[in-house]
């Protein structure tokens, strides 16, 4: 059991790292395609070695540290960001149980009964990595970026959690596994909670610091935002964790709203448990990819929000809407009893 968990955990970690690595290439490809270009295609066929080249470049770049920086915190910042980005995947159910030698194994690292709370706990620590990095750099642009990041993430976390409360009220459980299992076939939460989905999606953009909410690293105003003073692989960690976060938030959204690994009719194909688990995993992965595409599509379409617009949207639009959604859900549940 421990052996399987170890292998599975490493596999998930590896998967998120490889996906994040190739997201950088796909992002650039997408950027190219949206702008009538081809994107990188020099390193290998279709540029498939581009992420390797970028990685090597980042490793060999000069490791620069400002001499006024707080050295411990300066290193802690990107490390924390990277660590936290990898932690969230622990409670995501990647597929139904598989059977090896008559023993069933769960394709979920930990079926915590407070899975959603765990995700929110981890996500809210995520702001510390950026905050610490921006503070330790001892640079006003970095500090401004960090301050923006923290206020943005705190504002949008509220709306995000409130939108999830409606889901929790419907399912009556905080466990990710329970939430997925209640969305058998085509019985997905998105059909019952479209507003919650929309709010969650918007907040996910803000939480991962993606455009149109990429104010913390806003190049036009803040040079590089919180990572202005970072170079080499420390910068790589910050950029990389953004893509891991994208992947994981896609997975969370697919789990909570698009039925996780469920898809109509695949349970009627009469597959063996392991094949079924594999197909289900592929379905889940396709849903995550869909969200990844949405993230990129939005990034290359929308301009950045102004800071006051961002705050107004968060506090005056999304939070009241989320509360309204919770109220309506409550009323409907009461009426149905």
């Amino acid at each position: 059991m421990i052996l399987f968990k170890t292998i599975f955990a490493s596999a998930v970690l590896l998967l998120s790292l490889v996906v994040a690595m190739y997201s950088t290439l796909i992002e650039r490809k997408m950027a190219g395609f949206f702008q009538d270009r081809l994107g990188p295609d020099r390193a290998g066929p279709w540029g498939i070695f581009q992420p390797l080249a970028d990685g090597i470049k980042l490793f060999f770049k000069e490791e620069f540290m400002p001499n006024t920086a707080d050295k411990f915190l300066y290193i802690l910042g990107p490390s924390l960001t990277m660590l936290i980005a990898c932690l969230t995947s622990a409670v995501i159910p990647w597929g139904p149980d598989i059977v090896i030698n008559g023993q069933t194994y769960s394709l979920q690292m930990a079926d915590v009964n407070i899975g959603i709370l765990y995700i929110f706990a981890i996500v809210s620590i995520g702001v510390y990595g950026i905050m610490i990095g921006g503070w330790a750099s001892n640079n006003k642009y970095a500090l401004l970026g960090a301050v923006r990041a923290s206020s943005q993430m705190i504002s949008y976390e509220l709306a995000m959690s409130l939108s999830i409360i409606a889901i929790v009220m419907m399912t009556g459980s905080l466990s990710m596994r329970d939430i997925v299992n209640q969305q058998q076939g085509f019985n997905w939460n998105i059909w019952y909670q479209p507003l919650a989905f929309l709010i969650f999606l918007i907040c996910a953009f803000a939480e991962t610091n993606r455009s149109p909410f990429d104010l913390p690293e806003c190049e036009t105003e803040l040079v590089g935002g919180y990572h202005t003073e970072y170079s080499s692989m420390k910068l790589g960690f910050y950029l990389f964790s953004e893509y891991i976060n994208m992947f994981i938030s896609g997975a969370v959204m697919a789990t909570l709203f698009l039925g996780g690994y469920h898809f109509p009719f695949i349970d009627k194909l009469g597959l063996s448990p392991n094949a079924f688990a594999f197909v289900s995993f592929l379905v889940f992965f396709a849903k995550i990819t869909f969200f990844g595409f949405i993230f990129m599509w939005v990034r290359w379409t929308l301009p950045r929000f102004r800071y006051d617009q961002l705050m107004r949207l968060g506090w005056k639009a999304l939070i009241p809407l989320a509360i309204l959604n919770v109220l309506i859900t409550g009323v409907v549940i009461l009426l149905n009893q």
Partner: protein, 194 residues
């Protein structure tokens, strides 16, 4: 009292408030995403350079060539008109007298012993070509290659004069358009037909 009462120069500014649909952003966002999605499938404008080369115009003005005549003799007589015409002052030359026995090398009694074009100064306007009374200098479809060293951009005769071999001659017939030929006729350059 408003500012209008004081100066009578104030203008009414359109400060229209957004309608409900504009305020919720979503229709505009979906419209924008529809537009970008259209670009996703559009034909790409990229030319994959080393493999695919964009075709040059037939009368492209690239690197110069110093022509030889039909018998392989250099046409240039070092009159210096090209250097005078050159707006970028890129051309320099040293004239020399043809010695007996060199009639198969140089067409005229006077020739350019050195002829240099600074390719970093040259603006490829083609005025040297127009000025030349001997049909000796032409701009070709070849491009001047990049280099790391500025000194290497001063092209001498070894790079400019076309090869002696009739098969390796550089075709400039496209640049000798009827208009150009007519222009040269107008300036009484009839002695230069062959």
């Amino acid at each position: 009292m408003t500012a209008a009462g004081l100066t009578k120069r104030s203008k009414i500014v359109s400060n229209k408030t957004m309608s409900f649909w504009e305020k919720i952003y979503l229709p505009a966002i979906i419209h924008g995403m529809w537009i970008t999605a259209g670009h996703l499938f559009r034909k790409k404008t990229t030319v994959r350079y080393p493999e695919v080369k964009r075709e040059f115009s037939e009368i492209y003005r690239g690197k110069h060539v110093l022509k030889r005549d039909d018998e392989g003799r250099e046409r240039c007589t070092a009159c210096g008109l090209c250097a005078v015409a050159c707006p970028a002052e890129a051309i320099t030359m040293v004239a020399a007298e043809r010695k007996p026995g060199e009639e198969n090398l140089y067409r005229e009694e006077k020739y350019a012993s050195t002829y240099e074009i600074n390719m970093l100064r040259c603006i490829f306007c083609g005025l040297c070509e127009e000025a030349c009374p001997k049909e000796a200098i032409f701009l070709t479809k070849e491009i001047v290659n990049a280099d790391y060293d500025r000194d290497k951009f001063i092209y001498g005769k070894e790079l400019l004069v076309e090869p002696m071999d009739p098969l390796k001659r550089i075709d400039v017939s496209k640049r000798q358009t009827p208009e150009v030929l007519e222009f040269k006729k107008d300036r009484n350059q009839r002695h230069n037909v062959h």
